[in-house]
């Protein structure tokens, strides 16, 4: 008998429609440095560098074309919350067309859906997907000086119009919470397009509408070569709470004050290398200040991340990123409306077994022009177990 002759011929896989219920989950425990500059915080609920996260996913397929998906998540061992709950309709088996309705994953950008924790040796998320800016959904500056005063203070921002109590600001894209709405996706071997209409906005996803506005977002991905995928994303949506309407000038409405964003991303993979990069710009339209109408304020961020598989089960990763802001004020004395941030993060991931991974990461954050902490070097260790 020849060495491989004991193997029966490979059978053709048979089609199956019996996948009715499936579950999965992940436990991630992270322990790292204190982060007094709030470079990594996206919420008051937990510190991402000192957190235990439990995630439980479930899918039920009551019939061939219908799937109900849910994700329950708890951070810091606090109360569990329903991070996702939606229905996926796939009317034709042979065609890649999906309709998703409910609390759905964001269509925008490269990062916001999975977090790819198991796929990257890094612990921190890109600044675009969590770093808190000073802008708030329930409070507004009265003057440009109010904005300048809050530079680098997104963790505890306050403005004189609307809710004057200090609270956290908005990230460009909130990767922690998903929006509620409907989404359609069409895909072929080389291209995929997704369009979504939701009630919140990129930075402030919501379960229920709070301003009468709608957010639209879209993503188009083309696989230019087998190793290269290029994505283009855009989104526009009202981001302010209608509680602010009484503070607005006549003719202004929170339903017409938008956050608009556009981004280009790429993912290149070959052999042991995986490279991801994204350039993303976001603009927020502000109502007139005391001095009169102002142009929308802009943030532009770029990040590039590389992963190298040194050995089976051993990865090295590096991300470089920068988040910058447009100038505000008279041309002679224009200043950025927020404090620019840059970050360098390096990490190592060790996977001794399929469902277990360890990470060690270090990040250097710099924010020279704002915030109480202008620069900080942070370390984190993480263990993750998934099933």
């Amino acid at each position: 008998m020849s060495p491989a002759a004991a193997q029966s011929p490979a059978p053709d896989a048979t089609p199956g429609a019996t996948e009715r219920i499936s579950v999965g989950g992940e436990i991630t425990a992270t322990y790292g440095s204190e982060d007094p500059g709030f470079f990594n915080y996206a919420t008051y609920a937990y510190d991402p560098l000192q957190n235990v996260r439990l995630v439980f996913d479930a899918s039920v397929r009551p019939m061939r074309a219908v799937e109900v998906l849910a994700q329950v998540r708890t951070d810091g061992l606090s109360q569990a919350r329903m991070a996702a709950l939606y229905v996926r309709l796939r009317p034709w088996d042979a065609r890649d067309i999906d309709l998703q309705i409910g609390r759905i994953p964001t269509a925008f950008g490269l990062y916001g859906r999975n977090g790819y924790g198991g796929d990257s040796p890094l612990v921190g998320r890109p600044l675009a997907y969590g770093y808190l800016l000073s802008l708030r959904r329930d409070a507004l500056p009265a003057t440009t000086a109010d904005l300048f005063r809050m530079r680098g203070r997104g963790w505890l921002s306050n403005f004189p119009r609307g809710n004057v109590a200090p609270d956290r600001g908005l990230p460009i894209v909130n990767a922690d919470t998903w929006d509620a709405g409907a989404q359609v996706r069409l895909a072929s071997t080389r291209v995929a397009w997704t369009g979504a209409v939701t009630v919140g906005s990129l930075g402030s996803p919501r379960l229920g509408d709070d301003n009468g506005g709608r957010a639209v977002s879209t993503r188009f991905v083309v696989r230019a070569a087998p190793s290269l995928a290029i994505g283009v994303s855009a989104a526009s949506g009202a981001y302010l709470s209608r509680d602010l309407d009484p503070t607005l000038a006549p003719g202004e409405s929170t339903s017409r004050l938008w956050q608009r964003a556009a981004g280009v991303d790429l993912e290149f993979a070959t052999g042991p290398w995986l490279i991801r990069s994204e350039v993303l710009a976001s603009r927020w339209q502000l109502p007139a200040l005391a001095s009169g109408p102002i142009d929308p304020v802009t943030a532009v961020t770029t990040w590039t991340e590389g992963r190298l598989r040194v050995l089976p089960g051993l990865d090295l990763g590096l991300r470089v990123e920068h988040l910058g802001f447009s100038d505000l004020g008279p041309a002679a004395a224009a200043e950025p409306w927020e404090a620019a941030v840059s970050r360098l993060e390096a990490g190592l991931a060790f996977v001794p077994a399929r469902h277990l991974r360890f990470k060690l990461a270090a990040q250097r954050n710099r924010r020279p022009s704002g915030g109480r902490v202008r620069h900080d070097t942070l370390f984190a260790a993480q263990v993750g177990l998934w099933f």
Partner: protein, 233 residues
């Protein structure tokens, strides 16, 4: 004739061994092979109580579903001799086998090969795949590669090698490597046949999804086909 104490001990050992072998659960005789000095074990590995289709993780974070995928041939088990006859270890010619990647599935899901075999892992999907293993018997990572490309791994140590795709967490498979040729992956009905076995008594193991689930001792006689039913409890 009077036997010395050593001869008496030897005769006693022979008698005990003969009695033990006679007491072993016997495989039934399923036929005769004319003019050969080897035997055959054939039969069926019944895994019906175990076989279930492993479900992929829910794709909660995806913008769409995966569509209809093939279901791996999970009902296939593996039957092998726990200890092979000495002649099994004679040098053989290194072979070649294929584990394809189709519809985000390794096909076949279970591949059994002899040491020295090179296994090709072609990517027959339109998307990128990666093949890796963290198993002690063979630790490797083929990196990410595109549709139409193929990479190969040579398996030189016996053992169970679990194979995964780094990109698609629902993809997994087994390559089981033996240092002898007396093994067989069952067909879809659980049937198997191991040929060219030198006469003797062997322990036959039924294996499924990473574990030896059942075993039985079988005596092989030259020129005889021994039928064996292995039922996983």
């Amino acid at each position: 004739m009077v036997l010395g104490p050593h001869w008496r001990a030897f005769a006693g050992a022979i008698a005990v061994t003969t009695a033990l072998v006679a007491a072993l659960p016997r495989a039934s005789t399923g036929g005769q092979l004319a003019g050969v000095d080897t035997g055959v074990i054939r039969g069926r590995l019944d895994i019906r109580r175990l076989a279930s289709i492993p479900q992929p993780r829910p794709t909660v974070g995806d913008l769409g579903g995966r569509g209809q995928r093939g279901v791996p041939d999970v009902r296939r088990g593996l039957v092998y001799l726990d200890v092979a006859p000495r002649s099994a270890f004679d040098d053989g010619e290194p072979g070649r086998a294929v584990m394809d990647q189709r519809n985000e599935t390794f096909v076949p899901r279970l591949l059994a090969v002899q040491t020295g075999t090179t296994v090709d892992f072609p990517n027959s999907d339109a998307t990128f795949h990666n093949v890796f293993s963290l198993s002690r018997a063979r630790r490797f990572d083929l990196g990410r590669y595109a549709a139409g490309k193929s990479k190969a791994v040579r398996f030189d140590r016996p053992g169970v090698v679990r194979v995964f795709c780094d990109i698609h967490s629902h993809m997994s498979a087994f390559v089981v490597v033996f240092n002898h040729p007396f093994f067989r992956v069952t067909d879809a009905d659980g049937r198997f046949r191991i040929d060219n076995l030198p006469p003797g008594t062997y322990t036959v193991v039924g294996w499924y999804e990473g574990e030896a689930r059942t075993q039985r001792a079988v005596t092989v006689t030259a020129g005889v086909i021994s039928d064996l039913e292995l039922v996983v409890p």
